[in-house]
């Protein structure tokens, strides 16, 4: 499964080579395929400062970048990823004349020709690229992903308004790229690229569907190592597709042979948000106690598959695909009378469909948009399915914040909680 993780690391090296070869590179926010497919089709090397900040944190260079951002006057309460990137850019531009800092891990992020931000999920993700203008005059394009209300989405015409808005917006974006790069897009290639994305996402989705089996055949750790390839469209997509297919076969055979991901599955747990990358070993210690992470962070999963065949315009397929990612759970949310249909609600679906005993919620202190909904998720899971949650704080750049010892101590207590609510659910007539 690890080849998929390696693909992401490749992209950094490739973007550096690309820059050396005078090729344009792009810094992009995770945009859930809305812009990536187009960048891919136009052979633009793309790096992701959000992802790269994790790399800096693990490599230990983040702290100096954070201090630099602090010194440059960015408030310390801002997103840790953004502050890491401000510090990195400050060092690259103000100190090294646009040369990549020697200490930068994985070859660093070269000075880009375009900053592609996205207004989905949080404000920081477009304000941040706008603010980079403080250091460099690079054009910024902000992708639009409409987020209508849960009730409102199902009013006459609203959904189609969202789609046509996105399609028109993407058409504008393509025109903009063509102006910026002085070359035309190859529509057939775009069409092909999107087809591959649809295919590999479907396979990847199926892999995760298999995890509903008891015992669960695949642990969250394997999800985290495999996820980036689909989220960042790293490497050659047909390779990636094959990797996911191989993965499917492996997981399927485990299901067929009743093999679980861990020795003795006592607790089926849904995990929320990014894991503590630096101490993933922590999950092994939980596994020894019978904790199996059977499903996790909905927002890093591909959208629930929808039929896009018969839609000729690749831009429309992209729009519907990405929109499905953010609103794919709205219909069920509406039935439940829940209006936070994308950030929190999917965990209710996970808890039910994967028959979870508990939720491990991991708020990231300096990433408020990734954490805001978790307290509500706790409330929601308890109210609707009597599934308890444990909230253990961590962070995206200050890795010290997550304390495995303390977390383990709480986890031990939480086992009694999970046992208790198993009984409660029985009384309520639920089947897990």
């Amino acid at each position: 499964m690890y080849p998929l993780r390696a693909k992401v690391d490749e992209t950094y090296a490739r973007s550096v080579e690309a820059m050396k070869a005078g090729k344009p590179t792009v810094w992009a926010m995770v945009n859930w395929w809305e812009g990536d497919v187009i960048l891919k089709a136009m052979d633009l090397e793309t790096v992701y400062p959000e992802n790269y900040s994790t790399v800096c944190a693990s490599a230990g260079t983040a702290e100096s970048y954070l201090n630099r951002a602090d010194a440059d006057g960015f408030p310390t309460h801002l997103c840790g990823y953004s502050r890491n990137t401000f510090g990195y850019t400050s060092r690259m531009i103000k100190e090294l004349g646009a040369e990549i800092p020697p200490e930068a891990p994985m070859g660093g992020m070269p000075k880009p020709v375009l900053l592609l931000s996205s207004d989905s999920v949080c404000d920081a993700r477009y304000k941040w690229f706008q603010a980079l203008g403080h250091y460099m005059d690079i054009p910024v394009w902000t992708l639009e992903l409409p987020v209508p209300g849960v009730q409102e989405l199902f009013m006459d015409g609203v959904k189609e308004q969202c789609i046509s808005f996105m399609v028109e917006h993407l058409r504008e974006f393509v025109a903009f790229l063509e102006r910026l790069l002085g070359r035309k897009i190859d529509w057939d290639k775009l069409d092909e690229t999107m087809k591959l994305v649809e295919q590999l996402s479907r396979v990847w989705h199926e892999v995760n569907e298999l995890r509903k089996a008891r015992p669960c055949p695949m642990h969250g750790r394997d999800f985290w190592s495999a996820m980036p390839a689909s989220l960042f469209l790293a490497g050659d997509l047909s390779d990636t597709l094959e990797c996911y297919q191989a993965m499917y076969d492996e997981v399927k055979s485990r299901v067929d042979n009743g093999m679980g991901a861990i020795a003795d599955e006592k607790y089926r747990v849904v995990f929320a948000e990014l894991p503590p990358w630096h101490s993933l070993g922590f999950f092994d210690r939980l596994a020894e106690r019978g904790w199996n992470i059977v499903i996790e962070s909905w927002n890093y999963h591909p959208p629930i598959p929808i039929d896009l065949t018969g839609i000729a315009d690749p831009l429309e397929r992209i729009a519907r695909f990405t929109f499905q990612w953010s609103t794919g759970y709205y219909e069920r949310a509406l039935k439940d009378g829940e209006y936070l249909g994308y950030m929190a609600y999917p965990y209710l679906v996970f808890a039910r469909d994967y028959k979870c005993d508990g939720a491990f919620l991991h708020p990231l202190i300096t990433c408020r948009s990734a954490s805001t909904h978790l307290h509500y998720t706790r409330e929601l899971l308890m109210r609707k399915t009597s599934v308890p949650s444990i909230i253990i704080e961590g962070d995206i750049v200050d890795l010290r914040l997550f304390d495995p010892e303390d977390a383990l101590r709480k986890a031990e207590v939480f086992e009694e909680t999970m046992e208790h609510y198993r009984e409660v659910r029985k009384k309520e007539g639920l089947d897990w």
């Binding site: 408030p75 987020v147 202190i365």
Partner: protein
């Protein structure tokens, strides 16, 4: 006391007991609709004889319930408002219209509507950019709002009805601007604290009553002799939402007058008029998406520019504040944020760059949403005034 002198006193009264009036109206059978920020087109409510009532937090109320649905490191204004909601302080509302103005508000209001069921709720999406499709999409969102409001009231929003509502709110905007003009003289005729009380009162009563209040306040302020004293510093306060006079007193308690503001508890909602377009919804869409200035909207000097120019960018984003500084003869800016605000937080240091380029001293104050959090700011403010004094 002159005849109009009830104005300021009444504004203060309403400020101190905001729900009083709407509760009376509710008893008379009117329906009260809550809305959390300036992105909600309240004209549509007025057109249906609904009373729009703005939702605020309360810096004096300890937050004890909000953890049910929100983490602690989160916009303290919304956290406080949500806490009040959970405590039943907003139970008199018949409905709620939320808008995707900023991320915390979008998330908080979706949680709020899920936990507390009002007879009517609506969520209005607001695009993040001003690209071609954005306006059209936003118009679609406004039409959806119109439909659910009509369904809730069982009435139709007529062209005349909406036009009259827009005209009433435009009048209110004009009167507020007239009031702000009274802060141009030195000393200003009305203090920052008084202005804040008036604005907050306006968001607590029907638009016509608000316009009467404004007329009274304006005539009173023009005539009274006991207005603010002349002070060396004439400040502009830029920020997210200052909604309590404790905020202004921290500053006006020192040797300074606040003569202008640019935040969501002050002038922002009143800066521009809704154009009476052929299709009235076009006018609303244009004002609420394009003309409103909060930094939650992504703005660039030239849409789709392939070459970027930071200076032009700053001018396009902050130029209007430059106008304020000239027009109100401002000699210092306080950038005041209730903390954990991304849209405003990311404007630092850009907006400081802009003030520096104008040669205007500025200071960044960040604080929690509580009365006590303000006291420690006094030394900072006085220190800043001393810096201004040295420049003068």
């Amino acid at each position: 006391m002159t005849q109009g002198s009830k104005g300021l006193a009444e504004a203060k009264e309403i400020y101190q007991d905001r729900p009083r009036r709407v509760k009376e109206l509710k008893a008379e059978g009117k329906k009260i609709i809550g809305y959390p920020c300036i992105y909600v087109p309240i004209e549509m409510m007025t057109a249906l004889d609904l009373v729009p009532y703005r939702i605020y937090g309360d810096i004096r109320e300890p937050v004890t319930e909000a953890d049910r649905g929100l983490q602690t490191a989160f916009c303290p204004i919304m956290r406080s408002a949500f806490d009040l909601g959970l405590k039943g302080k907003y139970d008199f509302l018949d409905g709620m219209v939320a808008a995707h103005s900023c991320d915390p508000q979008e998330k908080c209001m979706r949680v709020w509507m899920s936990l507390i069921k009002y007879p009517y709720t609506h969520f209005l999406d607001v695009p993040g950019t001003l690209h071609e499709g954005s306006l059209e999409y936003f118009k679609g969102q406004l039409i959806a709002l119109k439909k659910t409001l009509e369904a809730f009231t069982g009435k139709i929003i007529t062209q005349t009805g909406l036009r009259e509502a827009i005209e009433a709110h435009n009048l209110q905007r004009a009167l507020v601007r007239e009031l702000y003009d009274l802060r141009k003289p030195d000393p200003p005729l009305i203090s920052g604290a008084e202005t804040l009380q008036v604005i907050k009162a306006l968001t607590s009563i029907p638009v016509e009553e608000g316009n009467d209040l404004l007329r009274q306040v304006i005539s009173e302020v023009k005539e009274r002799k006991n207005g603010p004293q002349k002070k060396p510093a004439r400040l502009l306060v830029w920020g997210n939402t200052m909604d309590d006079i404790a905020h202004t007193e921290t500053i006006e308690g020192a040797e300074a007058n606040i003569v202008m503001d640019d935040h969501c508890g002050g002038s922002r909602a009143y800066r521009t008029d809704v154009e009476i377009a052929e299709d009235l919804v076009d006018g609303l869409a244009d004002n609420y998406l394009v003309k409103l200035v909060p930094p939650r909207t992504f703005r660039v000097a030239v849409l789709g520019e392939t070459r970027k120019d930071w200076a032009a960018d700053l001018e396009s984003r902050f130029g209007y504040i430059g106008e304020y500084i000239k027009g109100w003869d401002v000699n210092g800016v306080i950038m005041q944020l209730v903390r954990y605000c991304d849209p405003h937080g990311f404007e630092q240091p850009a907006i400081k760059d802009y003030f520096d380029s104008l040669g205007i001293p500025s200071i960044y104050l960040e604080h929690d949403y509580s009365e006590g959090a303000l006291a420690p700011l006094r030394t900072r403010v006085q220190g800043f005034l001393e810096v201004i004094g040295q420049k003068a």
